[in-house]
């Protein structure tokens, strides 16, 4: 491998690059989907290739290919340099060339720890597990669609740079989930477990899938979906709401994880995902949430979907405070953007905190979430409900939407329960809550201890688009005076 990477870096230097890096990746994925008692699809996909990033005349170029001969490496590097030179012809007079700061010279390896390699588990065993859960759901009268799926990924990748970095990583992911749909007379409801939109995902082995309890929870999931069909719709108004951990995880993702991406702040995602309300003047100054809200970016969290050894600039995985006692204190950064921020805010670190990630060999690394975790609190869920006089308990995401600066959001959940005088009451359907990000997080007055590191495998960003796998540690939490849409 060193022969290949050295060839790319040497060629880049010869052609005039002041910096170059190369990533070589071999990725295998496996997907199994069952639906209504049948195997809907089983697929294994292999994808291998390399991507070269070069800095020439102060501008970036990137090119990638699936072919790994020396001739192709030369061609791709030359292409990347040509692209960089073209980039350099369109530069804003206000913007300097790219600065990367101190060299990064990481040399090392990282392997995801696991007990059971998911790719060694027979397909028949996985199908049997999914069909067993599927059978429990279909046994409930009124279920129209029962779904179960598993997804596994193994990526073996190398990173090398002209500064001397050379890292090798083997990252393994496992995920699974079930859902039951009930439909009748134009009404449609769904319940999912352990999380919506595919389930729960981790870096780790098959032991995590076995520990999810898919079959044990399937009957309940199906019964709730059917019950929701005939249940009353959620009333609108202003309520104190208790939100379950999976939903809080998505709340953290959308309203904190994205606006702290420093590239969004500097406008480089404006054409697609948008910008951020967390402008540099707010760093260290804004009370983002109440004093009990503490959020970190942590690429070292065990089994987090955003856990790795080194990012795609060779920067070692690390932990960064983002919100401390409610105050906004940190971004997630790259080498280039950390330098820009430090020039604007001298107290800000000038080194990257290691969040540049590309989802494949054919994509440029971008600042992406790692594991953006809300620290747990001391409450027990039952005690928090008992402490709530009049409110709603909301569980599991069904829809989500937020504006392009990450302020106005709206989330729909699969199910709600009325809380009256500290007791869970009537189940209600189609609960939707909405708010403005800092107002919402400043209304958080209780966080529970039922902390789980949830994995989200479908975070979209960039042009061309790429999906990143990220994690969010979260617990059940209460928020006061939140607007609910409804009848």
């Amino acid at each position: 491998m060193r022969d290949y990477t050295n060839r790319a870096l040497d060629t880049a230097g010869t052609l005039g690059a002041t910096y170059a890096d190369v990533r070589v990746s071999e990725k295998r994925t496996q997907s199994i989907v069952v639906k209504n008692g049948r195997v809907e699809g089983v697929e294994e996909a292999d994808s291998a290739g390399f991507g070269v990033r070069v800095l020439v005349e102060g501008s970036w170029g990137f090119a990638s290919s699936y072919l790994r001969s020396f001739e192709e490496i030369d061609r791709v590097v030359e292409q990347a340099v040509r692209i960089a030179r073209a980039s350099a012809t369109v530069r804003s007079p206000k913007v300097e060339g790219v600065r990367l700061g101190s060299p990064v010279t990481s040399v090392g390896t990282y392997n995801t720890p696991y007990e059971t390699d998911p790719f060694t588990v027979p397909i028949t065993q996985k199908i049997d597990l999914l069909l067993a859960a599927d059978g429990e759901m279909r046994a409930v009268q009124g279920v129209t669609i029962s779904n179960g799926s598993m997804h596994f990924q193994r990526e073996h990748k190398f990173f090398a740079s002209s500064e001397g970095s050379f890292v090798e990583q083997l990252l393994v992911e496992s995920g699974a989930g079930i859902s039951a749909n009930a439909a009748a007379q134009g009404e449609f409801q769904r319940r999912s477990y352990p999380n919506s939109f595919g389930g729960q995902f981790v870096t780790g082995g098959y032991e995590h899938v076995l520990g999810m309890g898919l079959t044990e929870n399937a009957g309940r999931v199906a019964s709730e979906a059917v019950a929701l069909l005939s249940g009353p719709a959620c009333s609108g108004g202003t309520f104190d709401i208790i939100i379950s951990g999976p939903q809080v995880a998505l709340q953290v993702h959308e309203s904190c994880g994205h606006p702290i991406e420093l590239d969004r702040v500097f406008g480089t995602e404006a054409a697609y995902a948008g910008t951020s309300f967390l402008t540099p003047d707010k760093l260290y100054n804004l009370q983002y949430g109440s004093e009990i809200v503490n959020i970190v970016a942590d690429a070292t969290s065990p089994n987090g979907l955003g856990t790795f050894g080194y990012d795609d600039e060779g920067v070692p995985a690390q932990r960064t405070d983002i919100i401390k006692d409610g105050r906004f204190v940190g971004y997630i950064t790259s080498r280039e953007d950390a330098q820009k921020l430090h020039r604007l805010v001298p107290d800000a670190p000038e080194a990257s905190n290691g969040t540049m990630r590309a989802n494949d060999w054919n994509r440029l690394p971008l600042i992406r979430m790692t594991n953006i975790n809300l620290a747990p609190g001391p409450w027990k869920v039952d005690d928090l409900i008992a402490d709530t006089e009049n409110g709603l308990y909301l569980d599991m995401n069904r829809s989500w939407s937020i504006d392009d600066k990450r302020l106005n959001f709206q989330f729909g959940c699969e199910v709600g329960y009325e809380i009256k005088d500290g007791k869970l009451g009537q189940m209600v359907k189609d609960p939707i809550y909405t708010g403005i990000t800092p107002e919402f997080w400043n209304s958080c007055d209780a966080i529970c201890d039922d902390w789980t590191l949830w994995g989200l495998p479908n975070c979209g960003k960039g042009q061309p688009s790429q999906l990143s796998h990220v994690g969010h540690g979260a617990s059940t939490a209460r928020f006061r005076n939140v607007r609910i849409l409804g009848k």
């Binding site: 639906k35 049948r38 195997v39 089983v42 697929e43 294994e44 996909a45 292999d46 994808s47 291998a48 970036w60 990137f62 090119a63 990638s64 290919s65 699936y66 072919l67 791709v76 990347a80 692209i83 960089a84 030179r85 073209a86 369109v90 804003s92 206000k94 913007v95 397909i123 028949t124 199908i127 129209t144 669609i145 439909a183 134009g186 449609f188 500097f266 406008g267 480089t268 995602e269 404006a270 054409a271 697609y272 440029l364 069904r398 829809s399 939407s401 937020i402 504006d403 392009d404 600066k405 302020l407 106005n408 709206q410 939707i432 909405t434 403005i436 042009q463 061309p464 688009s465 849409l485």
Partner: protein, 447 residues
């Protein structure tokens, strides 16, 4: 580019190696280039070369799919072996319809423009500068992306089916930001020469300048003119939520039980037409069958949905040539949507409003209720107050929560002009601008 003979050779090799009862080989060649800009400069500029082989095998009624992008003999054998192993691991699926026989009823529609395929980084940079320079001179900041790509698709199977289609795609989008406003424009075509980045940049700059210092307006029901960028989102959702065979069969479509009934306004006609040479044509699907033009909604009546062989066999009908790469958990999506134009010049749409809003586009739209086609999202990049038929000033962005079908039933006027736009996740739409009575806004944001 690989060329038809290279892809045919690889296909033959795979078919010869496979011991399965049925074997399908899908090859997709990608040569993609994208120049991205922000803050009036090119900041990301990328190229990708790839060739992917997807092998689907059936052992009786048990099906396995494997993909790879290595093409030594051992790599191809490995993909076949994996697909076989996966098929062997499954119970029979009695709903497997088998691979199709060759069907040569293709429409010959050219989709490949050599000039687009060979566009250089320097030419893309010059096209981008035709946006960034005027933006800078106007005191604005331009962001966006210009891509020029070439693709090839071949499908072969053990029933002697072989089809091949090359195509090109050029796509441009820009968001231009002023001090307190923003504007947007976009265009797509198979031929880069049809993308006038200067004019598109001027459009976005104009909106960005006009939208400075927006005022607050309250949510509620508003009469609106939705520009084509917003209408494109609406038709895309109708396709995803309800106008595909999987949604119909699984009872999560508004068309389930209502085929042939009026579901929206009689001035709404929506088709899926991948054979229109002036759009982004695609005459074959991923099972190697001819794409058909499908009338989805005609004068407000839901007439049809799109099918692939699997979902068609479950419904007792025929494929319309809308298969996506297998295994496909989403169903046979319509992805070349066209909404019929009207007879009102676009500039006249606002003249019919006493008081309302002009909306450039929607952002971050998500389905809230699939059967009722209730979607939520926000306005973005140019929302304006209209009074007595004239734009009087910009307003801050609003959140809507609205049934798209219901909204379409309140269309009062449709523009003569239409735009061709790429969808976020593949496919395209050719859509007009519309005026709608009483569109429901449920919230607002701070900018």
């Amino acid at each position: 580019m690989q060329g038809i003979e290279q892809l045919r050779d690889i296909s033959r090799q795979v078919l010869a190696l496979s011991p399965a009862d049925e074997t399908e080989v899908v090859l997709v060649s990608t040569d993609e280039h994208l120049t991205r800009f922000a803050n009036n400069e090119i900041h990301q500029n990328v190229a990708e070369t790839n060739l992917e082989v997807r092998v689907r095998v059936a052992l009786g009624n048990s099906v396995g799919v494997a993909t790879g992008n290595g093409f030594e003999a051992r790599d191809l054998q490995a993909v076949i072996d994996t697909a076989i192993r996966l098929a062997q691991s499954q119970p029979d699926n009695e709903e497997w319809p088998g691979l199709p026989e060759p069907d040569n009823r293709f429409t010959d529609v050219p989709g490949f423009e050599p000039g687009t395929a060979s566009t250089s980084p320097r030419v893309r940079a010059e096209a981008v500068e035709r946006v960034t320079r005027p933006a800078h001179e106007s005191g604005c900041v331009a962001s966006g992306a210009l891509s020029t790509s070439a693709f090839e698709l071949s499908v072969a199977n053990s029933k002697d089916l072989f089809v091949y289609y090359p195509w090109t795609q050029a796509d441009f989008v820009t968001v231009v930001m002023s001090d307190s406003g923003s504007g947007y424009s976009a265009a797509s075509h198979k031929d880069i020469n049809h993308i006038d980045t200067h004019s598109l940049g001027e459009e976005a700059i104009r909106t960005a300048v006009m939208s400075q210092n927006p005022i607050d307006v309250d949510p509620g029901e508003w009469d609106v003119v939705l520009d084509a960028y917003a209408v494109a989102d609406m038709v895309r959702f109708l396709g995803i939520l309800g106008l595909n065979g999987a949604a119909l069969v699984e009872q999560r479509s508004f068309a389930t039980g209502h085929m042939g009934e009026t579901v929206t306004g009689e001035n709404v006609t929506l088709v899926d037409d991948a054979l229109d040479a002036d759009t982004l044509p695609m005459p074959i699907d991923y099972e190697g069958l001819p794409r058909q033009k499908v009338t989805l909604i005609e004068e407000g009546v839901v007439k049809g949905v799109t099918w692939d062989r699997y979902w068609a066999s479950r419904a007792g009908t025929q494929s319309t040539g809308h298969a996506l790469p297998a295994p496909n958990p989403w169903g046979p999506m319509p992805d070349r949507l066209q909404m019929a134009a009207g007879d009102t010049p676009r500039a006249d749409l606002i003249k019919g409003m006493k008081r309302g809003l002009f909306v450039t586009r929607f952002n971050y739209t998500r389905a809230v209720h699939p059967v009722k086609t209730i979607v939520t999202g926000l306005t973005r990049d140019g929302t304006f107050l209209v009074e007595d038929g004239e734009i009087v000033g910009p307003v801050k962005n609003l959140r809507f929560t609205e049934s798209y079908l219901d909204a379409f039933s309140r269309i009062e006027a449709i523009s003569q002009e239409r735009r061709l736009l790429l969808s976020s996740y593949s496919g395209s739409s050719l859509v007009p601008s519309v005026r709608i009575r009483g569109f429901t806004f449920t919230g607002k944001t701070q900018f």
